[in-house]
């Protein structure tokens, strides 16, 4: 059984039931003591009883788990400030001024102010501190969203433990993500009130381009109706422009301008334009409204629009065309032969280099397959790589990856998003004996905006590009603990260890490169690797000895240097020199480099050690191992090749079609998501495949492979229309079979590629004859690309035979602007609810009256410190005193005199006399003690001999004339008179005291 804790003054007891010992034992001790201590003098007796009771109190107290409670007196106010775009800039300034003034008002010196800004992400601008006086907006992130819940959670997370905390939320209450109420519940749970300061605004002069409506699919040459819906808060005049694929459409042929002047009434306004798409590809239509001046007399002269983000809308229409493929290569010779056979096979091919590669999935989706010929990964941005993966997985596009010395593992594709889509693993097989590379990264402080993030991503990218057998090490200056390996030079393995190390990088500002370079060179020299390389990233100001550079030169190890944000251009000379002298590369990425730029440098640099993945040697013919798969149909043997990129077989559904040395997969195919992927690790040019180009089966081989990978076109007529409904989009499909009849009982396998790079399946069901519907969640801004693969049994009207009709269709949905720009007034009700829930206040906005530092309603935290051990020690100490009181005479005057002597003063007459008398007594006692040494040792002991002792028992004073035996023989004590021993002692003590008094 336990009781709730009890607090007495500053002391709290966790197990107060033990306190019951105090009265119980107290009474017992008191009763016992009255009897057993009756022999003592009054004062001594009561002291002894008091001491015993106190001992019991201390022991009982110690058992009751006592805590010393210190209540905090300081308050932390954490201001959570909405920095999103929905708050007009003037109001943002007002918030800052309010915080500065309100935080100065009534603040005690040790009170602390912390600030958190909220937009799409929440960021701590300053931790709660004594000297902070306002909100200092440093980096607030993207402002096209508001996640108030995250802001409140962050504020709670930064609340100091030793102060009471109040969160002050300054916002319009419009959240686009998260749930503020849920965060408020968390605040309630930890007893933190949330005061709210509603930011009031109303965008009265506002025009929103609500949406632009176009059909999702259209045939080439067909005219379509583009409808633009504008929403005006009050009558307005403006210019509406419409563009198709970036080219403006002349809306008003009568005027020299391309746009048209429109007069808007209050509420929704719809404008409709007839357009005939010009090219067979996905066409993006964009409508833009520019306000001119309001005609409303109330807002005369003012431009009737405040937020420009909501003035544009986009939609995408797929303009039907014959299936085409996109060929990407850097060098025309790379695909010369391949393009020729594609043309002979009547496959429409567009050839570009990586720099021209589409940046949106909708554009890429115009092609049924993409062929990458000897393309390295660093030619594509991370987003493009991810988009390509999505293109295959979610929109069913085909991918043909053709090798060359810059492709596959040797081209840095290891670890790229696209690596998941390939039917082979780019890492070489474990069993394969091959030279491996060793890479050391030396990281120095990156004093650029978001430099730490950038540098970490860069390291990650470099490490991702290495194969599992390669060695990687990271050296940095870890601030307080100096230069060291953050990650020792060791095989990459599954990358978890090195990723952990990267996450812990601190990017300390090292004064000199020597220590870190020496560490790196020692590691690299000892490393069991073929190619060795080092990359250093720095602002260039640490010093470097020539002798250190010479070590790299002597060991033949290249060093590449990335100079980032130098204090002055001349700082980079050290880096330039080290790169030049060791044969590495030097990159000056300037003051504020783009992430992609630095990442691709690191990936490219990591390639330096990746050349080992290329096999080149005497020509041999790869073994055709799988003739049954469609792309290899009819191909029983292939000509010799002179080289290929080594990769490993992927377990699962991939099929290896050709094998090279040690069974390396040279050709492989598989289905990835909705799309199909082909890899051929040798090249399509004469570098490695000279014999192929002149081979009779060359056309058949590539035509079959490319056609197999291409997305099926289909013969049915499928028209897709979309409609926004809140955060969802309704997909409507009207399907006709080749004979023009409604297509029923079709099975749709649909996926949507979301703007965040994820894909999700879409459920499509039949809603009527030839009509199918589905829904997708489309709450985030951006493009959603939908792919529909269908299968349907149809009856041939002539023969009456059942055949299977297969095909696919695409559609795109565009959500142009975030909900952040849809809110045109504040949400005060939500804020009020939050304040009520957490016991906070609704602030007036008056910095003085609001009194942010008010203590009312705050729970002051209490720090507790366990003190049972102190009580227990006190109890033990006092127990000794208790014993002492009864056994040892304390002579205050004697002590005073002794202290006086020790300090050479205090020899007053009284004390001198007293000392004299003490000395006399001592002398006599000593004399007697010497006379009977045996007795002297037993003055206070009950011993057998004591009975015959004749000596006195005085401790001091004059010897008594009629000395009583101090003790009785033990036997007698035990046998006859147990109390007598005690009484004898007491008597002796009394005697001694009397002597003293004399």
């Amino acid at each position: 059984m336990t009781l709730a804790s009890i607090t007495v003054g500053p002391i709290g007891f966790e197990r107060p039931e033990w306190l019951i010992l105090l009265p119980v034992l107290g009474v017992v001790v008191f009763l016992m003591a009255r009897k057993s201590l009756s022999g003592l003098g009054g004062m001594t007796k009561w002291t002894a009883i008091g001491a015993r009771l106190f001992v019991i109190a201390l022991v009982a107290g110690a058992l009751a788990r006592p805590n010393w409670r210190t209540e905090a007196r300081d308050v932390s106010v954490i201001a959570v400030v909405d920095a999103s775009r929905s708050i007009p800039p003037a109001q943002q300034e007002g918030i800052d001024q309010y915080i500065e003034r309100a935080s100065a008002e009534g603040k005690r010196p040790d009170d602390r102010l912390g600030t958190v800004t909220v937009a799409r992400q929440s960021l701590v601008q300053s931790l709660p501190q004594r000297n902070t006086r306002g909100v200092e907006r440093q980096f607030v992130g993207a402002t096209d969203g508001t996640d108030l819940a995250e802001g409140v959670s962050l504020a709670l997370a930064t609340a100091p433990k030793d102060t009471a905390t109040r969160v002050v939320l300054m916002t319009d209450g419009n959240e686009t993500k998260g749930s503020l109420l849920r965060a408020a519940e968390a605040a309630l749970a930890v007893g933190v009130p949330i005061d709210v300061l509603p930011i009031e605004y109303r965008y009265d002069n506002e025009v929103i381009v609500d949406r632009i409506v176009t059909p999702a699919t259209v045939r080439m040459g067909e005219a379509i109706s583009v409808r633009v819906v504008l929403n005006a808060m009050r009558p307005a005049v403006g210019r509406l422009t419409l563009s198709e694929g970036g080219q403006p459409i002349d809306l008003d042929p009568g005027s020299p301008e391309l746009g048209m002047i429109v007069e808007l009434e209050r509420g929704p306004n719809v404008f409709s334009v007839q357009v005939t798409p010009r090219e067979p590809k996905p066409q993006a239509f964009e409508a833009v409204f520019e306000s001119i001046a309001s005609r409303d007399p109330a807002a005369a002269g003012s431009v009737g629009d405040s937020i420009t983000e909501n003035n544009r809308a986009r939609s995408i229409t797929f303009v039907g065309a014959e299936g085409s493929v996109l060929v990407v290569r850097e060098n025309a010779q790379e695909t010369e032969a391949l393009e020729r056979v594609l043309a002979e096979s009547e496959i429409q091919a567009y050839t570009i280099n990586a720099g021209q590669f589409p940046n949106t999935l909708a554009e890429l989706n115009a092609y049924e397959a993409v062929i990458l010929a000897n393309e390295p990964a660093f030619n594509f941005t991370e987003a493009q790589q991810e988009m390509l993966r999505q293109y295959v997985h979610d929109t069913g596009g085909g991918l043909v990856m053709v090798g060359g010395p810059d492709a596959f593992g040797a081209g840095g594709w290891i670890g790229s998003p696209l690596a998941d889509a390939l039917p082979i693993r780019l890492d070489p097989p474990q069993k394969r004996q091959m030279p491996r590379g060793a890479l050391v990264l030396v990281m120095h402080s990156v004093e650029a905006p978001r430099g730490v993030y950038l540098a970490k991503e860069t390291c990650n990218a470099a490490v991702d590009n290495l194969s599992r057998l390669d060695l990687v090490g990271i050296v940095e200056y870890q601030g307080i603990s100096g230069v060291d390996w953050v990650h020792e030079l060791q095989p990459v393995g599954d990358r978890s260890a090195v990723k952990r190390a990267i996450n812990q990088l601190q990017f300390g500002d090292m004064p000199s490169f020597d220590e870190s370079f020496n560490l790196a060179i020692d590691g690299l020299v000892a490393a069991p690797a073929g190619q060795k390389h080092m990359i250093v990233i720095s602002d260039g100001d640490p010093s470097l000895q020539r002798s250190t550079i010479r070590k790299f030169v002597n060991a033949g190890i290249t060093v590449s240097a990335v100079g980032i944000n130098p204090h002055s251009p001349s700082d980079l000379s050290t880096l330039r020199n080290v790169a030049r002298m060791t044969g590495g590369e030097f990159y000056d990425v300037g003051r504020n480099p783009a992430m992609d730029e630095v990442v691709s440098i690191f990936i490219k640099e990591a390639q330096t050690i990746r050349r080992s993945l290329i096999w080149e040697g005497d020509p041999f013919s790869p073994a055709v191992v799988n003739r049954s798969v469609e792309p290899m149909r009819g191909i029983s043997g292939v000509p010799p090749i002179r080289g290929y990129v080594v990769a490993a077989e992927r377990e699962g559904l991939s099929l290896v079609t050709m094998r090279g040395m040690e069974d390396d997969p040279v050709g492989a195919v598989w289905q990835y998501g909705l799309g199909k992927v082909v890899t051929y690790t040798s090249d399509a040019a004469s570098r490695w495949g000279a014999a192929w180009v002149s081979w009779g089966g060359y056309k058949q081989f590539w035509e079959q492979h490319v056609r197999w990978a291409m997305r099926p076109g289909g013969s049915a007529s499928v028209r897709v229309t979309t409609e926004h409904q809140g955060d969802e989009t309704l997909i409507m499909i009207d399907a006709l079979d080749p004979a023009g009849e409604r297509l029923n009982f079709a099975r749709f396998d649909a996926r949507v590629a979301n703007p965040d790079g994820t894909g999700s399946p879409v459920e499509i069901r039949q809603a009527g004859p030839g009509r199918y519907v589905g829904r997708i969640a489309s709450g985030d801004p951006g493009s959603y690309v939908l792919n529909l693969n269908y299968r349907s049994p149809v009856t041939d009207p002539e023969t009456g035979e059942m055949t299977l009709l297969e095909g696919s269709a695409q559609a795109a949905v565009s959500r142009p602007f975030a909900d952040e720009f849809r809110s045109l007034s504040s949400n005060r009700a939500l804020l009020r609810q939050v304040a009520e829930l957490t016991g906070g206040r609704e602030l007036s906005g008056d910095p003085v009256a609001d009194n942010l530092w008010d203590r009312v309603g705050l729970t002051m935290p209490v720090a507790t410190r366990s003190i049972w051990i102190a009580l227990a020690i006190g109890g033990i100490g006092l127990f000794l005193v208790d014993v002492g009181v009864r056994r040892v005479r304390i002579d205050p005057r004697g002590i005073a005199a002794a202290v006086g002597r020790a300090f050479g003063r205090g020899q007053t007459k009284d004390t001198r006399e007293s000392v004299e008398s003490l000395k006399r007594v001592r002398d006599r006692t000593r004399a007697r003690a010497e006379a009977s040494r045996e007795q002297a040792g037993r003055k206070f002991e009950a011993s057998d001999d004591a009975a015959s002792a004749a000596g006195p028992v005085a401790l001091s004073g004059e010897a008594e004339q009629t000395a009583a035996p101090i003790v009785k023989p033990k036997k007698r004590v035990v046998d006859d008179e147990p109390e007598d021993t005690l009484s004898a002692l007491r008597r002796a003590k009394r005697q001694a005291r009397d002597d003293m008094q004399e």
């Binding site: 931790l127 501190q129 000297n131 306002g134 307080i480 100096g482 020597d514 100001d541 002798s547 002055s568």
Partner: protein, 379 residues
Amino acid sequence: MLPPMPASRPWHNTSRRATQRGLGALAALAAGLTLGGCSDADPATISTEAEVSFGEVGRYPGQFSYPRAIDAIATPDGPELFVCDKTARVQRMLTDGTPIGVVQMPEWELGKPTGLTIAAHPTKPGERALWVADTHYHQVLVYDLPEGEPFGDEQVNPEPTTPVLAFGSYGHEPGQFVYPTDVAVLTDAAGAIERVYVSEYGGNDRVSVFTPVEREGATAFEFDFSFGSPGTVEDAPTPEAVVFNRPQSIAIDRETNELIVADSCNHRLGRFTLDGELIAWVGGLGEAPGSFTYPYGLALLGGGQALVCEFGACRVQQIDLATGESLGSFGGMGLGENTLAKPWGVALAGGMAWVLDSGRNRVVGFDAPGVPRSAGVGP
């Protein structure tokens, strides 16, 4: 001359921390008594325990954003500290952290100052001035000591303060600077400036000496001579070669008429005559007493002793410059009250040493022996 020292130290932070320490102090007293009398700290060496500390991270007055340079002066009301951090401002502060003045550098985009010295005023005889080595703008700036209520509405970024005087430009020629790190001012008995020494790094690692001249009715500083060249201990042709690798701090010892240079990346101190002739190198790389790991800060104690603040070893050593012997040490790497995280500088005033615990954005004060001299309190 130094102003008189106050008898007591009324400026010490006696707030809550003191009361919290009360019990501990009692216990220590009791322990001291039992062990046989009060153990007076040896007055010849620095204390190993912090007496006071203040500072927190931030950009508001009283806060620091990685402070990298410090100097201190003694006034009749107690010591005052001057601290420069990465907000490119020098805050004048009391020893409880209260800011009482600020100087904001004119520009800071390229980098922030890493050295400052309070020394004789170049134009106002008898007064003191703030000399700033504006490292990344390749110049030396001289300011009046900031006074009054300087933190108006522009709390975070005050308006740039106009310097009294500035000299230096980028370059490798004599009289030019790459990255100046510290300034030391040599005055005569009357307090008039005789010479100004400026240390620098960045490919120009040397000490340049300037003399004041009257030019068109205004004081200017003219290049006189320089000594030292960039180099490392390992690469130096002879041990006596005067090569520097980032001389981060310099100080003048008027007792011995020596210029002491903290040759940071060579992990040693250099003792020079005022004319730049090498007397001796002191120390070398290491963590043992008497060795240094990136000695960044320097303050002279008098009696041929110096306090050396080591960025790498996170400590302050008391060094006998003649023998190179370490007489005591404060700190050590750590996040405790008596340990330091990458300290950049040390200054002396009011019988105490004030070390910049840069990694933790605070200033730590601890007892230091002797009377602070040139580096600590200027002329």
